[in-house]
Amino acid sequence: MGKDGIRWKPYESPGFFDELIKGKGRIRYGARPLCRYLSRLSTDEVGRRKAAADLAIHTMGITFRVYSDKTGSIDREWPFDIIPRIIPRSEWERIREGLTQRVRALNLFINDLYHGQKIVKDKVFPETVLQESKNFRKICMGVNPPLGVWAHICGSDLVRDSDGTMYVLEDNLRVPSGVSYMLENRQIMKRVFPEMFEAYDIDPVDDYALQLQQCLASLSPRNVRNPEIVVLTPGIYNSAYFEHSYLAQQMGAELVEGADLFVGSDDVVYMRTVEGPKRVDVIYRRIDDLFLDPEAFHPDSMLGVCGLVRSWKKGKVALANAPGAGVADDKVVYAYVPEVIRYYLGEDPLIPNVPTYLCFDRKQREHVIQNLDKLVVKPANESGGYGMLIGPHATQKERNHFARLIRRDPRNYIAQPLLGISTTPTLVGDRAEPRHVDLRPFILSGKEMFVTQGGLTRVALRKGSTVVNSSQGGGSKDTWIVGRKGL
């Protein structure tokens, strides 16, 4: 072995769609320059590039934080793979349009749910689903957030099935995270493979912070030139603190904790500064709804700001995302998104949903229970891959257990066919092996809409695993949207 670089001939990902390799060493169109380049590097050189990436991560201080009492906070370095995932721009354009369409419809949907609920009256969306939604906030009824937008920052997870179709797996409308890693991954790759950026026509991603800043500024209740924008973080012990601090820095915004803010008798939000109280116009909050304001939600929340929701309802401050936006971020509601798109926009969805069975419907429930060995069952309101049943890999005992759970609380469960999530070559030792990936693009909605070029590709580093969460052995890759130049 030793001397040659990465060899593509033996690379196989049987039964799955691979993002770069068609099989038998045949390389997909967009990936040719990269794969040829990697096969020309010696094994030592590949090792050096990997070491360069690790060093960049170390010196750039890219971490996610885990707190331990004994040693204080541990910053774990971000697991990163140096082989990028590549998507041709022509394909991406269509995905981008599909995402824009989806988020536009979702915002109209949320706004409708908090006003006339036309979609319910027209019997497109069942009232019972709404009534039992954990993320529906009664307190938001009748509120008119700026521009009628509720979900300003959305992170939608995309996966590709074995036939090559991209599906939306879920929409994160509460406090989606990961965008800072998308940005840092690109910085690392520019250091590690500068020559590839010359050879290819790769869309830049660096303008995200600027776009976010403009999006947030467009929500300002005061018509001032430079509205005061702050990033509200739960604090240094939060696992996404690095991202909060990174985005604040990149936007030139103040990074604040709940205790830094107060609501004055004029219902305006102020931050405590050494120059005295300073008015805040827009809060990019990275705290969940229920901890946002002890006056409106959990009375014992230490993270929030008393009176914040009152100020928001009066239009004195903008909150991004708006409280209650998570109502559309629910796996049962998810099943209705194609209908939601048709209802509000009169268009067919450009990106399909994964077919979803709703257990609260008697017929669908029986189908699910009969076919538990073929389906994936998910609770409606969990994230991070908790509380799931992967039918084909489960034991009969586990399946029986889930059948009981579903019958007891049908509203809380949905089922989907097991997708053969796509793979992409990932460096394992000095070879490339297939590993499963998903993709999280970020969609901004303010005065204008913006979609990141690509997004964060998360990769399950363990062989055969499809769990991409960083807390469970996941890592990430740079994502290249490439044009025709150099191909």
Binding site: G72, S73, G235, A248, Y270, V274, E275, G276
Partner: protein
Amino acid sequence: MLSREAERIYWMGRYLERAEDMSRLVNVNALLLLDLPGGVSVGWKPLVSITASEPLFSDRYGEATERNVIRFLVSDQGNPGSILSALSQARENARTIRDIIPREAWEEVNNIYLHAKEDMHSGLSKRGRNVYLTSIIRRSQLITGLLAGTMTHNYAYDFLKLGRNLERADMTSRIVDIRSQNLLNEPEESLRPFENIQWMSVLKSLSGYQMYRQHVRGPVRGADVIHFLFKHEQFPRSIYHCVSEVAGCLRRLPRNEDPMKTLNRLRRAVRNTNPEDLPAEGLTRYIDKIQRVFNRFHQDIQATYFSITS
């Protein structure tokens, strides 16, 4: 700048200074005791008095033996004034303002605490003590230098220096207070021949001996030492100098009227009094007075910048 950040960097400055000052104090006392004949020694009790923690000490230890006092001042996390407690507090404050201070500075603050903790047993041993305490002083100086050389000299830096100089002035006044009580109040007959080296040790506990020698030729006299430590304009640990530094920082800060009034009172008190001319009792009263103003000043800073309410 957020009030919370200002408060945390201010306390980081104070705690680091406290740890450094305490290290010097313990080290110098240990060295002094080696020079004094057995039986005539001033012992370790004055160190507990300097930190104004006699009740806590007697609760926890009882007798002021060398071993007890050193443990209390160096490693006892039940004593909020111990070196280890101060470093732990400095680190907790630094941790929350990592976006404000340069990365290397945070790493050094983290290191000084870890070092102090891991090497504690050598800090408590007679032979390891000197190396241990000296290294804490050096590391603290390293942080001071790092911050001076790499951090933007903005409001945050002013709050840091404000905390550091206030703590330093306070410590200088405490050391003079306690030491002079021993030395000025009709010193015990047996100790009189050693008055000189005791005043030298006062200077050394403030790293001031060499600088004092450049300034005052001739013998080390109590009155000259007191004058030097209170009123020398350029010596960085004299009260006059610390207070001037505080004034410089405060002048750059916004909304400084209230703390400035208190600070001016302090500056007048330092400028218009010659503490070396006071009788022993008067000196104590005078020091009590300026300590009360230090406190008042801290409260003004707190009220003006840290606890802004609706």
